[in-house]
């Protein structure tokens, strides 16, 4: 007998008992919907974490100076004055490095007209906007020429604009940074809080040369921010930077490095691992509900076999082989569970949409989770349908025909 015929027989039998079929499917529907929704929650959370981490910078690798030991007292990382803009230029020539910017960080009081504000002044290169993936809301960023001339120009974060120039455009105005006048040429787009809770908009960016010459007065920088050309090249880039700087800083043998290289990959991995654990947990719960759905199918199929004993006897009498009976009930179970699976996927997609609205994260439904949920649902039908089906196939036709 063809599979199509078998499916037709099964389908007719199920349509004959619409309500019961639907109730039987309910377990699988909920199970599959739960799988789809939970996986989607996991994926959505992961995407949201990834977006936050990427917001800090694009494939970012950071080099900071190491610690110094003075008379046995060790300072913390970043205290050593070892890193120079030339190190940055050397790193920029490495393969897989997309961009480099030196970073000079000064916290100081700034004044514009009668307003003043304490903020963080960052010296950077024009690659800053690329590396930090940060656009301007108005004006323009400074150029390599500005850097070469140590030009007294600045780009303000939105918080600084709000505090120094309430109600007006700051473009073209002057800001005094440690009494040095800087002309405002641009405003950074508002970005809000960082993952660590800092207000990222509370900052002024100026050419790093200007920061070194006019603010810090030395030839060292606080950090180098490097963008790898791809997520996969973050680790290779980290691994290349270390020997390059060791060579440049003449560090040999067992001597401690005077710098350290870090990336956000570790943080990203940790966050991603957390999301994975969540996902497994949720998927486990979902799998249990699918299992319960499967047991529901078995239950109803057993009832159905008992209830249809006479029908089975008749089918045997009119020439059904026992394999045909087995196939019929097995296919009924699979059709039930697959239909339940399909409805569950529809429900799951709707549910994921709703959850993503409440969770304020992008709706991500990995296609493989849908395929997996569906296949698992169908397999549930095979597994839990087999026992009732084989019970039906082995009925004694005489007893079955007499069954009341």
């Amino acid at each position: 007998m063809s599979l199509r015929t078998l499916i037709t027989i099964a389908w007719r039998a199920l349509v004959r008992n619409r309500v019961r079929s639907l109730l039987t499917m309910l377990g699988v529907i909920i199970g599959v919907a739960a799988v789809v929704i939970t996986v989607s929650i996991g994926a959505g959370a992961r995407a949201s974490i990834a977006a936050q981490i990427n917001g800090i910078g694009s494939n970012l690798v950071i080099v900071i100076p190491g610690n110094v030991t003075l008379n046995g007292v060790r300072t913390g990382s970043g205290a050593a004055s070892t890193l120079t803009p030339d190190d940055g230029l050397a790193i920029a020539k490495l393969p897989h490095v997309a961009a480099v910017t030196p970073a000079v960080q000064v916290r100081t009081q700034v004044v514009a007209g009668e307003n003043n504000w304490s903020t963080s002044v960052a010296g950077a290169a024009p690659t800053f906007t690329y590396i930090r993936e940060w656009a301007l809301s108005s004006g323009s960023f400074f150029t390599d020429a500005d850097v070469a001339q140590s030009a007294k120009v600045c780009v303000l974060g939105q918080t600084v604009v709000d505090n120094l120039f309430p109600g007006g455009s700051p473009l073209g105005k002057t800001v005094l940074i440690r009494n040095v006048p800087f002309t405002v040429i641009g405003v950074l787009a508002a970005r809000g809080q960082s993952a660590a809770g800092q207000d990222q908009d509370d900052a002024i960016v100026i050419p790093y040369t200007a920061a070194m010459e006019r603010l810090t007065g030395n030839r060292f920088i606080n950090a180098l921010a490097i963008s790898a050309d791809d997520v996969s090249s973050i680790v290779p880039v980290e691994n290349e930077i270390t020997p390059l700087l060791e060579q440049r800083h003449r560090i040999v043998g067992t001597q401690e490095d005077d710098f350290s290289v870090r990336s956000l990959q570790d943080i990203a991995n940790a966050a991603s691992a957390t999301a994975s654990v969540m996902e497994y947990l949720l998927a486990g719960v979902a799998a249990v509900s699918l299992l319960v759905g499967g047991i529901g199918i078995m239950n109803i199929m057993l009832v159905s076999v008992t209830e249809r004993t006479r029908e089975i006897g008749l089918r045997i009498a009119v020439g059904a082989r026992s394999s045909a009976i087995l196939e019929q009930f097995l296919i009924e179970a699979v059709v039930l569970s697959s239909a339940g699976g399909a409805l569950g996927i529809a429900l799951g997609v709707l549910g994921s949409g709703a959850v993503s609205v409440f969770g304020k994260w992008p709706m991500v439904i990995p296609p493989e989770s849908i395929v997996l949920a569906f296949v698992f649902a169908a397999l549930t039908g095979v597994f839990f349908g087999y026992y009732p089906a084989s019970k039906a196939a082995h009925l004694n036709p005489i007893d079955a025909l007499r069954f009341e």
């Binding site: 007998m1 015929t5 027989i9 007719r12 004959r16 006479r310 029908e311 006897g313 008749l314 089918r315 045997i316 009498a317 009119v318 020439g319 059904a320 082989r321 026992s322 394999s323 045909a324 036709p397 005489i398 025909l401």
Partner: protein, 240 residues
């Protein structure tokens, strides 16, 4: 013309174990059904007539003895072969019709053809033809539970003859019907027997029904106690 008999039973025995007792259902039955016969098997309940029907219908296996169905020894066949023989050679009619609930007549009649592997279009055509034969072509798309007992039994008979079997086995086919419907059903059997040459074996305990056959075999305690042709034999089914 010597033809192979439809059914030949020789010293057929069937015993059941019931607890530690052995119950003899058939105790050495010899019976031959020739082509075109119309036989009523009669007897009290427990006389073995139903067991005989199940045996001939290949739903049960004899404990010992010989059963040739159209010359073929069926005692050694496996389950699938028996199913195929049931499908192609035999038609069953039951007291309680045994139609599929909430299913149209034509779909009920198609059922045996599904298992015989008849293609879709031909299945529908033959099912409608069979319903025509039993005289309820106009009810082809009626659902079984909306029909009277007599009509349902006609659907069941259409189902029994749709695969063109040589032998129709009817187990108390009029047991659930009123007198008028009973007569109509018996007329139908007589007509199928006469016009199509289908061999009919029916089990009944109603003498009126038994008399419509051409030959009456009476059972008692698992044995045949009489086997007689019916006098006049209703002159080939002239309506009573």
């Amino acid at each position: 013309m010597t033809q192979t008999p439809v059914v030949r039973l020789e010293n057929l025995r069937k015993t059941y174990a019931m607890g530690d007792q052995e119950v003899v259902a058939l105790d050495g039955v010899d019976l031959t059904l020739e082509h075109g016969e119309f036989v009523a098997v009669m007897g009290a309940s427990g006389s073995g007539k139903s067991t005989l029907l199940h045996m001939i219908g290949l739903l049960d296996r004899p404990t010992s003895g010989l059963y040739l169905l159209e010359g073929q020894d069926v005692s050694q066949l496996d389950g699938d072969s028996l199913a195929d023989l049931r499908s192609r050679r035999l038609g069953f009619v039951f007291q309680s019709y045994n139609l599929l609930a909430r299913t149209t007549s034509v779909e009920n009649v198609e059922l045996p053809m599904i298992y015989a592997g008849v293609p879709d279009a031909e299945r529908r055509r033959r099912a409608l033809a069979a319903l025509e034969t039993v005289g309820i072509a106009d009810m082809a798309y009626h659902v079984s539970n909306q029909m009277s007992g007599g009509q349902q039994q006609r659907v069941a008979i259409a189902r029994a003859l749709v695969n063109d079997p040589g032998l129709i086995l009817a187990d108390e086919p009029t047991g659930a019907l009123d007198t008028k419907s009973s007569q109509e059903i018996m007329d139908l059997f007589a007509r199928l027997n006469r016009e199509r040459g289908i061999t009919v074996l029916l089990v009944t305990h109603e003498p009126d029904v038994g008399r419509r056959a051409k030959r009456i075999v009476t059972f008692r305690d698992g044995r045949i106690v009489s086997d007689t042709p019916v006098a006049g034999a209703q002159l080939d089914g002239v309506p009573a």
